[in-house]
């Protein structure tokens, strides 16, 4: 992270409010202490995030005294894009990928931190820690810069940018153990609580506001659930769990048999969907 701050003119940290972002932000606070991280946070808001996430986001920025930029793709809003009618693929494309590109262009950021980890998904396993993007934000997996030792090539031409993944070599279990050891605040949605959910296509969706209409035959029930990963609420599956403490979550983790991204509806859309999204500029 200090490498980026020292070598780039205008870096930014993508802050998605999830547990990985929380860890990344915590590392940034440590890396620059006693100074503050010399870059702002950027949240790309799809307008479909859980309300508790937004509240947590604003509190965090205030608590740490950091500058927070929020970007919403107004064009997407105007086109009426939403996860129910547009489908998860189009929603993600417009409200996340496009929106992120808009924001990076708008502020002219030349380096952006992201909290992605190599253990999450197959194409992410091949991602560099310093990942080069063309002026149109595209990723070319066949033409990545070799990355030796801890020496990172940070040189870019005007308009090009670098995405930086400081958590590349962390696993999900590492993240939770670190949150536990460092007592890092996280969104309460990670802890089990009785929440209003509806079962749709085998996934438990929490109805966070009344924009979500129930289909015929669906009923809303209060169940004891928590989330392993957080995204847009209509696209994020809850798991039934009674883990309401960090210790409980870690205990649950070391016996887990499914990966966290299973709760993400966007990944199973089509084969290689993550690689495709990444080539287009998704994180």
């Amino acid at each position: 992270m200090r490498e980026v701050a020292a070598e780039f003119a205008n870096p930014v940290m993508l802050y998605s409010i999830g547990k990985d972002s929380s860890v990344m932000l915590h590392l940034a606070m440590k890396a620059f202490y006693p100074a503050k991280p010399p870059f702002p946070l950027l949240h790309v808001d799809t307008t479909w995030k859980f309300r508790e996430m937004i509240q947590f986001r604003d509190e965090t920025a205030k608590r740490l005294g950091l500058k927070l930029l929020v970007h919403i793709n107004e064009d997407g809003i105007a086109r009426g894009i939403n996860p129910f009618d547009s489908g998860s693929a189009l929603h993600t494309q417009v409200m996340k990928t496009e929106s992120l590109k808009q924001a990076l262009d708008k502020y002219g950021f030349d380096a952006a931190f992201g909290g992605a980890r190599r253990d999450e998904e197959k194409s992410r396993a091949k991602e560099r820690i310093f990942s080069f993007r063309t002026a149109t934000h595209a990723w070319d997996p066949k033409n990545q810069r070799p990355e030796l030792w801890r020496v990172y090539n940070t040189r870019i031409s005007k308009g090009e940018s670098i995405r930086v993944f400081p958590l590349s070599n962390w696993t999900e279990l590492d993240i939770w153990q670190y949150i536990l050891a460092e007592k890092i605040p996280i969104v309460p949605l990670y802890f089990a609580k009785r929440r209003p959910v509806v079962e749709r296509d085998g996934t438990l969706i929490m109805r966070d506001d009344d924009r979500m209409k129930l289909h015929p035959g669906e009923t809303l029930e209060d169940r004891l659930v928590r989330f392993r990963t957080l995204g847009c609420y209509p696209l994020t599956g809850a798991i039934e769990s009674d883990a309401d403490t960090l210790e409980g979550i870690v205990t649950e983790m070391f016996t887990a048999r499914t990966s966290e991204r299973q709760g993400r509806l966007i990944d199973s859309d089509e084969k290689s969907s993550m690689e495709k999204k990444k080539k287009e500029g998704y994180f």
Binding site: R2, K30, K126, P146, R150, R155, T251
Partner: protein, 634 residues
């Protein structure tokens, strides 16, 4: 009851966390030839150590039926080959990192490509690994790729190797075949300096000797692969080495605090210890070791900290802090191994950027000593390096830098080379030793300087660098400019491309490598003439931006004027004063600029002249006027 259950759960958790903390981390890579079964082996390790999640597993079963090459059985390779292109072609083209843990250790595996054109990716994987698992297909034995990978692993400092003889099932678990391969490998690898080579017969597809030792190879007395990986001691005692701290960032939140942030990459440092700045030799002591969780008494290798010193010492990013009694080398010349990683060949004499630790400096290769044949380890003379080739060279940086030998410290002895125009990472270097002559050959201080020589002549020395295609009119205009200056009593010298090639550069041809050296020598010659106080006119095609920039950087501020003689190719071809374009087009001359060798036009030339709209005499007058306006001549 509930409380008792909670207690057991809590103690299970703390036992688990305690076990996690005790686990050491082993980073290893798998390499070998195409189709030797690397990806299958890693898939097998993940599968058999029960580390696959159910959703990954069901996706794998589905994919196996679709793309699998194992006839309906689970194809473990599909688990690891992440990218679409790889799945379709069945090869691994990039490094994939995998994570798994057993009760004894945590592992990070770099799965690296076998294909020859991805050797650089293998080097990438090796640079961060402590051990290499080299796979050999039992049916094929030791191949060129096997040797190459063993060599690169050793070059990048890996000291421990597992020779995994895979597909042992396909040779009927034959001990004879296995022993022959082991001997073959040993004959080659004894010159590579590995401290251990562990041969293990395996079948990645059926799991023999992967997790548990197999009945079917009862003749094999050694451990299984995983058993070995869990217990091998790779002795990476970086904390026992001399203290090294490359400064990454100067931490200055307010006027009262000035700290130096970075990661300790060797040894340890305690509060109160004396330190020295490697380059300047300035000494101080550590006043505080600052972290967000409070000050520390000691920091060891691997820790990221901010150091506050007891004195105001001038330190910036790129400096290395060390213990005073064991400092890194400081030199502007050193010898290093170089792995070339770019499609474009290495151009000795061209200036590249070198990034070592946190320091970035311009660097040149002053002598390519030899190239290494990775099959025989023989050395032979070479003028350049191509993609995936390894050489040994002398390097000269534009100013002194601090470093260690790579074998003593990877972080302060390994560097990358960056192309100044494409910004691509083109090479990886491992420093061998510093060339002492740099420390001992000092500049001879002369009493009569550039200023006084120039002052005597009543002019400011400068290089007028004419660049343009053959036949563009460079020499014609340069000649007229020199005549005009001479007539005014100015002191000049004209270096002409053709003339210089009859003498100083008689040994050079027209390949890219030679063109770069041609310009380097002319640049140096021009620099001496500038030092002598002359106005130097250089008339050279000088087709590459890099070399013109190198020449510019040799001179002082304001001592270089680039004159772009911008005559279109068609006009030059029509003029063809020496009949060269005709010969080039007929194939009689090779590597002719504009025909089959590129010309890169200047982007920021001080002067651009157009010979199609003005007479040479007028253009020469324009240039002389420019010299007068800028105060080079009175």
């Amino acid at each position: 009851m509930a409380r008792a259950a909670q207690r057991t759960e809590a103690s299970a958790l703390s036992a688990f966390l305690a076990a996690q903390e005790k686990k050491s981390l082993l980073r290893f890579l798998t390499c070998g030839s195409v189709d030797d079964g690397k990806s299958t082996l890693i898939g097998r390790l993940l599968y058999d150590s029960k580390l696959l999640f159910e959703d990954h597993l069901s996706a794998l079963e589905k994919d196996s039926r679709k793309f699998g090459t194992t006839g309906g059985d689970i194809d473990f390779a599909l688990l690891v080959d992440g990218l679409e292109a790889e799945r379709e072609q069945g090869i691994t083209i990039d490094v994939a990192y995998r994570f798994f843990a057993t009760e004894k250790r945590k592992f990070i595996v770099a799965d690296t490509p076998g294909h020859e054109q991805y050797t650089r990716n293998m080097a990438t994987g090796a640079s961060n690994s402590d051990l290499a698992v080299i796979l050999v297909d039992a049916r094929k034995g030791v191949l060129t790729q096997t040797r190459r990978h063993a060599y690169i692993a050793s070059l990048l400092g890996i000291r421990h190797v597992v020779l995994a003889v895979n597909k042992i099932d396909l040779v009927d678990y034959s001990q004879e075949t296995f022993d022959a391969i082991v001997q073959d490998f040993a004959a080659f690898s004894q010159r590579l300096g590995f401290s251990s080579v562990e041969p293990i017969p395996i079948s990645a597809r059926f799991g023999d000797n992967v997790i548990a030792t197999s009945e079917r190879t009862s003749w094999h007395k050694g451990p299984s692969l995983l058993g070995y990986l869990e217990t091998v001691d790779v002795d990476t005692d970086v904390a026992g080495k001399p203290f090294r701290f490359p400064v990454q960032w100067v931490n200055r939140p307010n006027l009262d605090f000035r700290g130096f942030s970075g990661t300790v990459v060797g040894g340890r440092i305690a509060k109160g210890s004396a330190i020295a700045v490697a380059k300047s030799g300035r000494k101080s002591a550590v006043k505080r070791i600052v972290t967000m969780d409070g000050d520390l008494d000691e920091a060891v290798a691997g820790m990221a900290v901010t150091l506050v010193l007891s004195d105001e010492v001038d330190i910036s990013r790129g400096d290395i802090l060390s213990v005073p009694e064991d400092r890194p080398e400081v030199s502007e010349q050193f010898a290093a191994h170089l792995l070339w990683m770019a499609e474009d060949e290495l151009l000795p004499g061209r200036q590249y950027l070198m990034k070592l630790g946190t320091a970035t400096v311009p660097v040149q290769i002053t002598a390519l000593k030899h190239k290494v044949d990775v099959n025989s380890l023989d050395q032979f003379a070479a003028k350049t390096l191509h993609l995936n080739e390894v050489g040994y060279a002398n390097f000269a940086t534009s100013h002194p830098i601090a470093f260690d030998a790579y074998q003593n410290n990877r972080d302060t002895g390994g560097f990358i080379l960056i192309d100044r125009f494409t910004n691509a990472t083109v090479g990886a270097g491992m420093i061998d030793f510093s060339l002492r002559r740099a420390t001992n050959v000092h500049w001879q201080a002369l009493d009569v300087g550039k200023q006084s020589r120039a002052g005597q002549k009543g002019q400011r020395p400068v290089v007028l660098w004419f660049t343009g295609l053959s036949g563009s009119g460079k020499s014609t205009v340069a000649n007229l400019v020199e005549r005009a200056l001479f007539a005014e009593g100015r002191h000049t010298y004209l270096l002409d491309g053709d003339n210089v090639r009859h003498g100083l550069n008689r040994d050079l041809g027209f390949t890219d490598v030679d063109r770069v050296e041609n310009i380097r020598r002319v640049g140096e010659a021009a620099k001496l003439f500038v030092d002598a106080g002359l106005i130097v006119l250089v008339s050279f095609i000088s087709p590459f931006r890099s070399e013109r920039r190198m020449a510019r950087e040799l001179m002082g501020e304001g001592e270089f004027i680039e004159v772009y003689v911008d005559t279109p190719l068609e006009v030059c071809m029509e003029r063809d004063p020496k009949g060269l374009y005709r010969k080039a087009k007929s194939g009689e001359i090779k590597n002719f600029t504009g025909i089959d060798s590129p010309y890169e036009p200047p982007e920021l030339a001080e002067l651009r002249i157009d010979t199609t709209t003005a007479q040479p005499a007028d253009l020469a007058a324009q240039i002389v006027r420019h010299l007068r306006d800028k105060g080079y001549i009175g």
